[in-house]
Symmetry: D2
Subunit: 307 residues, 4 copies
């Protein structure tokens, strides 16, 4: 199978629709991103990465960072983490607080905002926040083999400025004693990890360990154990797109995690790690062209975890 | 891999725990099932079926029938079916009506009760109910190669007697004009399909088409198209265990559908169709020993759709 | 105070706005009512009744009947009734089922549909439905001194035809064993009491016992005890207008119960019983002109239960 | 009617039950209050105040302060206040956030916590918080004719320490742009008004304007207009006891507002303002003995706003 050709065909078939959808506008730094950007990168276990379009340009990966934070937090705490966060799809939007009230402050899964605040709290553990964020950045730079990967300071500041809903979620959990660190510290870490800037190439390469039993095949770094890797993939499949996860599983059939910046990281176990980016979002808050690209790639490759 | 040995080892390792959990007691016919029953059957694409324990004894498959009804309804109506039922995990118990009110009578997915009432309505279509149920029974007899498969009349009657909650769900949807047939007719069909009695062997063989791109490899019967088969598997993965689907995906990593009679049908694409039965249920309403057996089989085979 | 003048002034000040609002259209018999109808009647403990506009024309009192059914059910069962229905305002629309699920089938109060289905069940008790309805009709004919008061058979039939939401509510409660009689029987009674046709004069005179400590001052008939009368008034105040009860209390300051037919019965203890009718409803499902008329009457008389 | 005798009889009949119920323990300062305290004070428009038991001892009035904050906020902003807070009973507990999500950040009424945070925001307006709190304190000292009325600094500090749930509510509303001031400033004011310490005598005298058309009959101070006074009373009746308001109206029949410190302020228009205090709370978070005392007083006086 000529994967390079598939990536280019996919890009070319969709390029005319660039600009479709709504760019996230809750913070200025996201609102002014060029809506016509469109990149695809596909990394395979043999160390190759195929790219198309704007695949070298860093963008705000937003919630996709939740996957890497979860990997580190799980590695640090093991299954005890799941005493503070569930593993079930939520049936509610990403920032809903209704479910938290019903479940006494325990978020449904690590990929809704409240759940990622819990995993960030566990990533921080008993360290200074800066140290925890430095570990996350170091991991990404290593497995993506790119020392220029940065946190966008302006985005992080804007996240904080627009962060009252997340503050509300965090204090709500604090009122149920679910959090270990002080809310402002946890949110400091949370807003910064949301502001990570990676290119499609970076992201596909950073996610490759998830397609390879937890070990990055190029650097040889074991990020998580084989069993834990499957479980993170399972969570991406069931919970990776908020209230749209079922449809993504139904139509695409890859494990995936989307971000409001228009990126999606998709994992096809044993086959590939794929990153797409197009800022225009559909009704469910997922990249319109990004989802379409993944559907096309699934069609052209015949890959699916479901048969 | 010696699958026969794995099935027997699994059964033997768990046999001491027979009787654990709570047998469903909302209808007498289920309440008086022997709680120590425990059967496993695994069918592979090459036509072999490996069995252990009470794998030849028919039991009430209850909600597992929703998979077959969905397959037939999808075949009859195509994607138009999804104008009346969603594809998202629900985050609520199987018989919750809260979600229906929020979503104006459209159930979240075909595997909660309300959703299966919608698929039953579509299975009936413009036919007499008896004809629709006969089609379902004929399908199961064909692909399980067993003409003795029956609907347990006593269970069907009991379902109806204890069926006020399902009546409420159906009339609720009717008040939003979601249903085409009269509520009593639809429920007649619904209660009967819940009362299907199959053995583990029957069930594993009947589900084999789902592991084989939609076509039963033994009889050669194409039940659904390859694409539709993947999509049914995706729905089983994200929605097959009500409010426990995430945990099943996380811990077992197979597509699956459970029933309150203590059965679970699991599908590992391209590998196997597995049926387990043990009447004792855990807190989430899924067979305790059945789940444990599938976890062990996943471990011993190394199979997982997630890597 | 010249109450006759106040009633006429109120009618005259609002007459130009006749036809405002939306007439209920869920059943044909209500949809075709002349939207310009507007009547007011005010009955005082001294036996006088002052009328204006279309006060002699019978209309469908709909949910206002819930007050009289409650009075009879309370008289029949006493406080035991409140083991099956609550006394709290609901914070949800009149036909919401969400609250029922949260509270295990117990409706919040007797004036939402589910609650009135419970009081109807208690009114029926162990009698044939017809006997219970006959008792209700006899009461109204006596205290309104009008033997021509009828149930509109066409409306009752239409209520049943359009009654799937109420069927859903009833079966939901039945699934929690909240009801004593069979659902179809209870709904037969429920749909008929909704279809009672009274004029404003009838209604004001029928409600006068609530302004007079439970005893109709003209016929001398004690409908409920003095204490129970206060309690029914309290329920009208806190729950009489579904999700709009707070605003009615805030702006009008009378006890009241509205119906979707455009009628409102208001009670000012020791002062008067007032009935208004204008079919056009506001957003909250209460008669627009009727509410305005009661606000004006409150202003002109200076009456309020709040000071 | 010998009101002094009624107050003493009421106290005496209930004194044996002192200590019943659960003292609020979410902050230490409340948890260590002597549970056997029990005081009653009844103030009448003629300027007399009848007391029994511990009626001279200041206690933490907690949520009862919401009535006075509402009066000042309404006086400052008029009906525009109700663009930011509703007037309907909530059907949810005092600190529920579910309703806020459904209603896009607008609290149901001024007496649940979220609503009182909104009225506090309006009381502050564009002033320093201290100035707003000083105005509230000055009002209470004037109408209760007691310059020693204070805010308990320790309680205010404890409220803040235990205040994460209220922080969550406030940031939630802030995320919907419902608040004008910064959340920490508003909560500073909110926690202090909750910590007001008044005796039963103070409270009954401070609340007398509500029984007297908005004007304190002793000092002659008009706190609110006659119309606004009725409306505050209506809100107390429908919303004054959180999810227990209907039952209080049903059983007592007075306007009232309870606090978690065990106090209740009751208003009988044109008759009296009554304050009761007993720290033990019932299931609904209202003073057990306090409610019982008000029921007895209603019985003995025959007073009720419902007839």
């Amino acid at each position: 199978m000529d994967l390079a050709a598939i990536i280019h065909e996919t890009w070319a078939e969709l390029a005319a629709r660039r600009g479709a959808g709504q760019v996230a506008d809750y913070i200025p730094a996201l609102a002014r991103v060029d809506p016509t950007k469109f990149g695809i990168a596909l990394a395979t276990p043999d160390g190759q990465t195929h790219c198309a379009g704007d695949a070298a340009e860093p963008f705000s990966i937003q919630s996709i960072s939740k996957v890497f934070v979860l990997a580190l937090a799980l590695d640090r705490h093991g299954p005890k983490l799941f005493e503070r966060v569930g593993r079930e799809p939520s049936g509610d939007p990403f920032n809903s607080i209704v479910q938290l009230e019903r479940d006494h402050g325990i978020p449904r899964n690590p990929f809704i905002n409240a759940g990622a605040i819990v995993t960030t709290d566990h990533l921080i553990d008993d360290r200074p926040v800066d140290e925890a964020i430095a570990e996350l950045l170091a991991l990404l730079r290593t497995i993506a083999r790119d020392d220029t990967i940065m946190i966008d300071g302006e985005v992080a500041m804007s996240e904080s400025t627009a962060g009252d809903r997340n503050r509300s979620l965090a204090y709500f959990m604090a009122s149920f004693d679910v959090l270990n660190n002080a809310v402002p510290d946890i949110l400091n870490g949370y807003f910064r990890q949301c502001a990570l800037a990676l290119s499609c190439r970076n992201l596909a390469e950073a996610g490759l360990f998830l397609a390879c039993d937890g070990t990055d095949p190029v650097t040889g770094q074991t990020v998580v154990s084989s069993e834990r890797c499957r479980r993170i993939n399972a969570l991406m499949l069931t919970c990776g797109h908020y209230d749209n996860s079922g449809q993504f599983a139904y139509e695409v059939g890859f494990c995936g995690k989307s971000g409001v910046g228009g990126g999606i990281l998709a994992v096809v176990p044993n086959r590939a790690s794929i990153a797409v980016w197009s800022p225009g979002l559909g009704d469910a808050g997922t990249s319109l062209l990004g989802s379409a690209a993944l559907r096309l790639i699934a069609e052209k490759t015949g890959w699916s975890i479901f048969g």
